[in-house]
Amino acid sequence: MNNVLFFAHLKDEVGAESLQIEAKGKSVLALKQVVHDTYGLSSIDSVMTAINEEFAEDDDVIQEGDTIAFIPPVSGG
């Protein structure tokens, strides 16, 4: 199982700060697709991803027990 965290406004869109998702063996891109399809996160495409507190690329593969965080870049200033 994997703990998937949602930062900033993604929390409100998903309706939870974190979710348990079985993502072992999936790429980051594939997990984004799952989140997009299941929770309607239309902006997930331009969101940054971290695996175990390290930035990850779309083709990085998720291992058992990894914690994944989705962080939307914000622009206000």
Binding site: A8, F55, S75
Partner: protein
């Protein structure tokens, strides 16, 4: 005021040597809104040698809740933020040279300014300008500090050319605007937390304490009490067009910049002429009044109330069209007024 920096001198990572370095440094700050106000105040109080501020906007009532340099008087006078900021900063520390530029941060302006700049501070409200800063920083080997916030959430990253990944490594493409800033509002504490991170990093860079620089992407939610630090080293991309082995600095190319921009969360479109103008605002104001328009202004800008839209024209020919998000409509209103 010899005592002025005594408490900062007592802080050993700065000391006499660091203070003298800070006093010789030139910081370029893009944007003078919430982050810009706070960053500028910390740097000016700290005794930075020179601060150049670029901002395209003017002070409005909705700014006062968090933009700490501005007053009700500035709103009444519709002062450009760069001008109002300079006025307040000079009152705080007259030893610092503050340069105020009321303009859009376009590549040509930045290229003219950066030759003698030691650090670039991001206080903008959009990714288009940040990608531009990122390319300027890489091309001229000047560090810059990204900061942004929305709602109770904020983030910051320090970018040192040749050492850290750049913003373009992190964001492969410019995120869609308005996705975050229209809806969430913003509270002062989130702004202040970003300012604290940016200015701490700025002081480290100015005194040359590069070992102390934070190597993570930091983010925090001040309402939900969440803090995170994410390592970035791994995403440095040797093929990055901004900081890789064969950079082309794509965001410095004019064709990548729009001439009409929807301002973040403001129901406002900025229209910028392809070349900067030198408008005679007084004459323009008279013409408008003769044509029956309701106008108000000061030496820096002219405000025309078209009901329901309101147009604010700056000396360099830029205009903010309030009351619309429609680019074509904004362009049409602009052309109707200025030809």
């Amino acid at each position: 005021m010899n005592d002025r920096y005594s408490r900062q001198l007592l802080f050993s990572p700065i000391g006499e040597k660091g203070q003298s370095l800070i006093g010789r440094k030139h910081v370029l700050m893009i944007g003078a809104g919430a982050l810009g106000s706070g960053n500028a105040e910390v740097l000016v109080r700290s005794g930075v040698g020179k601060l150049t501020i670029i901002d395209r906007d003017y002070v409005e009532a909705s700014n006062l809740q968090r933009q700490q340099l501005y007053t009700e008087e500035d709103v009444k006078e519709k002062l450009p933020k760069a001008i109002a900021a300079k006025k307040r900063l000079m009152a705080i520390n007259s030893e610092v040279e503050v340069v105020a530029i009321v303009a859009d941060a376009v590549p040509s302006l930045l290229e003219d300014l950066v030759s003698e700049v030691d650090l670039i501070l991001d206080a903008t409200d959009n990714f288009e300008t940040r990608m531009l800063l990122n390319d300027i920083s890489q091309k001229h080997h000047i560090p810059w500090i990204y900061g942004a916030c929305v709602g109770s959430f904020g983030m910051s990253l320090t970018i040192i050319p040749g050492v850290t990944p750049c913003l373009h490594c992190l964001l492969k493409k410019i995120p869609i605007q308005g996705m975050t800033c229209d809806t969430g509002g913003i509270i002062g504490p989130a702004v202040q937390m970003v300012i604290a991170h940016q200015t701490a990093e700025a002081l480290k860079i100015l005194v040359g304490d590069l070992d102390a620089i934070r190597t993570t992407f930091t983010s925090f939610d001040m309402w939900r009490n969440q803090y995170s630090n994410i390592k970035v080293a791994k995403i440095k991309d040797t093929g990055c067009l901004s900081c890789g082995e064969a950079p082309t600095y794509p965001f410095l190319q004019q064709e990548n910049l729009t001439k009409t921009t929807v301002l973040c969360g403001r129901d406002t479109v900025q229209v910028r002429p392809s070349t900067a103008q030198q408008l005679d605002l007084q004459r323009l104001s008279q013409q408008m009044k003769v044509s029956g328009y309701d106008t108000k202004g000061n030496p820096y800008l002219l405000s025309i109330d078209l009901k329901p839209e309101r147009v604010v024209i700056f000396q360099d020919g830029r205009a903010l069209i309030h009351g619309t998000k429609d680019l074509a409509q904004a362009r049409s209103i602009y052309q109707k007024l200025l030809g």
